[in-house]
């Protein structure tokens, strides 16, 4: 067995391990990897997400167990300090030694810190590791302002992070424009303007002379003698390869840093390779992850004895993420030295600048840049990289909407076009995987090909390729719910209704196969509830945990309690009851975004007792745990408001009580506003009602959430009864025809014929089913029961609410901290 040692457990070092392990079918190599950081390799590209997630776990490229499983020896927290080339040994700072047959340097780089006096002061940071970010977060809590030295890609990312921490943020750039390596003067100006609109302050043509302050920085002084008072500084002035180890052991390095390698990634010692940001290839350091992965691949192919592959440079196209303004550059973006014809499109009003560089003969796209709208990036990148022939009017490529007619560009790409540059996957690889494996879902394509798993920029393109591929194969992909049922939700609903099936097992025995799973069980539970309205806990093990315990599960495994407060109206007495109950059971209380009160942190065994007290005081379940009607928000309306046209509170309560407990493919939200000032935000709801001079306007299919969408007007100036009638029909139609977990907005977006069709069915009864829909809704209303009341009054149902079957003890792992005088769960493990 040959011993391979990798120095550096960063992104590229890890990728090398993964690839070598995969290629090494006959276990000819034993791999050890040394990392100086304490964590195993993590995703540096998405480092800034640490600010929002604050969890290193989700950034890890692989867990420690992964290395164990693959028999790769992982030694973290250990720096390699010497290479003894003569004896083929490495030595670590702990004094341990290890022999190698093949050595791979993947030591990456460090941020370049210019020689300015004062860089050692407290409050000066770089932006490279999780540790750096932790320090920045800590320090940032106590200060008001931050400056970032360097207005390049990384500098702007750091600036946005500082800005999102609530700091007054300055960017200081030496050159006369931002991101000078990727953008021309006009593009940079548009970007600058957009960033200034966001609230960042940009200083150009500034060279810093001194970082001043007594131990801790308080100001920057520039060579033009101007001064900026600031509490924190993040230096982002480029990178320097970590070649110190290579230098010490006599490997050839470049004048400005980097370990010199040939096209096979060999250093001047043929037993030692260098890959990633430390490698200097053709006088070039590649500060991106994709070329690093390509280098890893070149070495792995050699070691595994596969077809020889050489590294021939790499495209440096990038898309900037996170700064709130889309920016991308591709190919030869500036085209400073090649003769070309630029085509430029600028829309100052919306902050968009696009430039493409066309070869002199007009046949080829050399590169370009996009600011403000990078939607065309993938397409343009593909054309550039694959030397595709340009259309007769190349300006169509960037001229807004006109380019959209080429939505199916995916399929006209050649098979060898690289689609995912992080993982080096071509269109052909994707098409082949789809055909060979009969892949039907994006998730499957991701899992099989690994496309989209890096930066994710290629996801839309992969989706298009997949759809086109399905079409070309003449395949209509049916939205069946999972491997156990080859039916759509709508078909299952019809079966359940026509065959009068009331239990999951009966349905599985007659129409399914296997033993069911966490996908089909809740879907069918929901259909059964929408059809028969029987108590859902009678079939508790097919419910999602929230429905099984009639409460929302929290971090740590406790649950929340949300009583219904129709229309958001509540008496002082009821408020007092909520307060007393919360106090007695030590629950965290919070006013929700839905005009009611959530009580958090109940143990599973406490739930029935808590609900018993609430029910005795006249409360009922709020169904916050179900894909069911949630809240009908109201504004105060004509009873108090000087503008109110009708009594929106009364109507909201009527609507909420009518549809309470109604289960649907996804949750349902509503609101009633007393006039068009719209204080209840009805137009962001699944169905929303707004008072007019003579009645109500009914809006449908809006939502907030991840993809906000405004509701559209279904019918205007309705009287109370007609409004209710239309809502009955609308809701029942949605319940019967939507796919699982599609909100009404998504449902409408997919509905052939759209809102006009919907109006036709609901208002004109074009399908002749209006009566039936109304009757079905009436059945749901007549059979409504408060689930919690049923449980509280039923000893055998109540008995299910405990943590252990064999003990009355409670879970000893529930831990809380106190924040602002209330408890909150301890952080995830």
């Amino acid at each position: 067995m040959k011993k391979v040692i990798v120095i550096g457990n960063g992104m590229v070092g890890y990728k090398f391990c993964e690839k070598l392990h995969k290629a090494d079918q006959n276990s000819r190599f034993s791999i050890s990897v040394y990392g100086e950081e304490h964590l195993p390799a993590y995703d540096r590209v998405h480092l800034s997400e640490y600010f929002t997630k604050q969890s290193a776990d989700s950034l890890l490229l692989a867990s420690k167990e992964w290395y164990e499983e693959k028999n790769i020896e992982l030694i973290t927290g250990t720096m390699v300090t010497r290479i003894d080339r003569e004896n083929k040994k490495i030595v670590t700072h702990k004094g341990t030694e290890a022999h190698y047959d093949i050595l791979v340097l993947a030591t990456g780089s460090v941020p370049f810190v210019p020689t300015i006096s004062g860089t050692d002061k407290k409050g000066v940071f770089v932006y490279r590791t999780i540790e750096d970010l932790e320090n920045i977060i800590q320090f940032g809590k106590e200060v008001k302002s931050a400056a970032v030295l360097g207005g390049g890609l990384l500098g702007l990312e750091a600036a946005k992070a500082a800005f999102d921490m609530g700091l007054e943020t300055h960017v200081i750039e030496f050159a006369s424009r931002l991101i000078p390596r990727q953008l021309d003067a006009n593009g940079a100006r548009v970007l600058q303007h957009e960033l200034e609109k966001l609230g960042l302050t940009i200083h150009l043509n500034k060279s810093t002379r001194e970082i001043s302050g007594n131990g801790r920085l308080d100001a920057l002084t520039f060579t033009d003698n101007s001064k900026l008072d600031v509490d924190m500084l993040i230096i982002s002035c480029g990178i320097r390869p970590r070649d110190e180890l290579a230098q010490k052991s006599g490997l050839k390095t470049g004048e400005r840093g980097g370990v010199i390698v040939n096209d096979l990634m060999q250093t001047s010692d043929p037993h030692i390779f260098a890959i990633g940001e430390v490698a200097l290839h053709n006088n070039m350091i590649y500060g991106l992850v994709a070329p690093g992965y390509e280098m890893a691949d070149v070495v792995v192919k050699q070691l595994a004895g596969e077809d020889k592959k050489e590294f021939n440079g790499f495209d440096m196209s990038t898309k900037l993420k996170l700064i709130g303004v889309e920016v991308a550059s591709f190919g030869d973006a500036l085209a400073e030295s090649s003769p070309h014809r630029p085509i430029i499109w600028q829309d100052a009003l919306s902050g968009i600048y696009k430039r493409i560089n066309i070869s002199e003969d007009g046949s080829q796209l050399l590169g370009g840049m996009l600011v403000g709208d990078a939607g065309d990036y993938n397409q343009l990148l593909q054309i550039t990289k694959n030397n595709l022939t340009l259309p007769p009017n190349p300006e169509d490529l960037i001229l807004g909407k006109r380019a959209e007619t080429d939505a199916h560009e995916g399929i006209s790409l050649p098979d060898n076009a690289q689609v995912c540059s992080c993982e080096d996957i071509s269109k052909g690889d994707i098409v082949e995987a789809i055909k060979a494996g009969g892949l039907e879902k994006l998730e499957q394509v991701k899992a099989v090909t690994k496309a989209c798993t890096g930066c994710g920029a290629c996801t839309p393109m992969v989706k298009d390729i997949m759809n086109d591929c399905h079409k070309a194969m003449g395949k209509t992909v049916k939205q069946t719910i999972c491997e156990h049922f080859s039916y759509t939700r709508q078909e299952l609903l019809d079966i359940i209704k026509v065959k009068k099936i009331k239990s999951y097992d009966d349905l599985l025995n007659a129409y399914g196969k296997g033993d069911g799973c966490e996908v089909c069980k809740p879907v069918i539970a929901s259909i059964l509830a929408s059809t028969w309205n029987e108590l859902i806990v009678n079939q508790d093990t097919i419910q999602d945990t929230n429905d099984r315990f009639l409460a929302n599960i929290q971090k740590g495994g406790s649950y929340s309690v949300v009583p219904r407060i129709p229309g958001g109206e509540i008496t002082p007495d009821k408020l007092i009851v909520i307060g007393m109950v919360a106090k007695k059971y030590e629950l965290y209380t919070k006013i929700t975004g839905g005009q009611r009160i959530d009580l958090f942190g109940a143990r599973v065994d406490q739930l029935p007792d808590i609900w018993e007290e609430l029910i005795n005081a006249g409360f009922e379940s709020g169904h916050a745990y179900g894909k069911a009607l949630r809240t009908v928000k109201s504004c105060v309306g004509s009873s108090w408001c000087r503008y109110g046209l009708h009594d929106s509170v009364s109507f909201a309560i009527r609507v909420e009580e009518r549809y309470r407990g109604l289960r649907a493919p996804h949750k349902l939200k509503s609101a009633v506003s007393g006039c068009r000032r719209e204080c209840a935000e009805a137009q962001s709801k699944d169905f929303g009602i707004i008072a007019t001079e003579i009645g109500w306007n009914l809006y449908v299919c809006g939502n907030g959430g991840a993809n906000p969408q405004h509701a559209v007007l279904l019918a205007g100036d309705l009287d109370d009864e007609t409004c209710i009638k239309y809502i009955d029909r609308f809701l029942m139609l949605y319940i019967k025809t939507a796919e699982p977990l599609n909100r009404t907005a998504t449902w409408l977006n997919k509905l052939p014929g759209g809102i006009d069709y919907l109006k036709d069915v609901v208002i004109n009864d074009s399908l002749g089913i209006a009566k039936q829909l109304e009757q079905e809704m009436q059945f749901m209303i007549d059979t409504y029961k408060c689930e919690w009341k049923e449980v509280v009054n039923n000893p055998s149902l109540r008995a299910r609410f405990k943590h252990f079957v064999n003990s009355e003890e409670t879970d000893s792992n529930l831990h809380y901290e106190v924040v602002r005088d209330q408890k909150v769960p301890a952080a995830w493990g």
Binding site: W66, D505, E518, T541, D544, I553, W828, G829
Partner: protein
């Protein structure tokens, strides 16, 4: 927290030294799980009635270290019986404990036997 994880070690049928009498079979939900306390250990026991099979694993989900798996839905993928964690729906084989859709480590599993209407869980000490 890792120490919590380390408490759970798979017990093979041949290594069982103690059969712990946990509770009556009728105390366990049909086609679902419930949690058994054994000394300091929380063990999830699954009554896979549809297949007439019983399984036991650690109650601790390795993903975010939550004591929760007994409240997960059970089911199958192909022929493999599995449980899905209620928190983020990571799924694990009930037979081998293997993680079926993620990088977190596998579950420790324990032998189960049914005698005279009682559920027994096998431990190695």
């Amino acid at each position: 927290m890792t120490t919590l994880l380390n408490q759970y070690k798979t017990v093979k049928p041949e290594d069982v030294k103690t059969w712990f009498k946990a509770a009556k079979t009728s105390d366990f939900p049909v086609d679902g799980g419930a949690c058994v306390l054994y000394n300091d250990l929380q063990v999830a026991v699954y009554n896979f009635n549809r297949r007439r099979e019983w399984y036991a694993s650690q109650n601790l989900c390795p993903h975010k270290k939550q004591m929760i798996l007994s409240r997960g839905m059970i089911g199958s993928t192909g022929d493999e019986p599995k449980v899905a964690c209620p928190f983020h729906k990571k799924t694990f084989s009930l037979k081998s404990g293997k993680n079926l859709n993620g990088d977190e480590c596998d579950l420790a599993t324990y032998p189960v036997k049914i005698e005279n209407g009682y559920v027994y869980i096998g431990f190695a000490e």
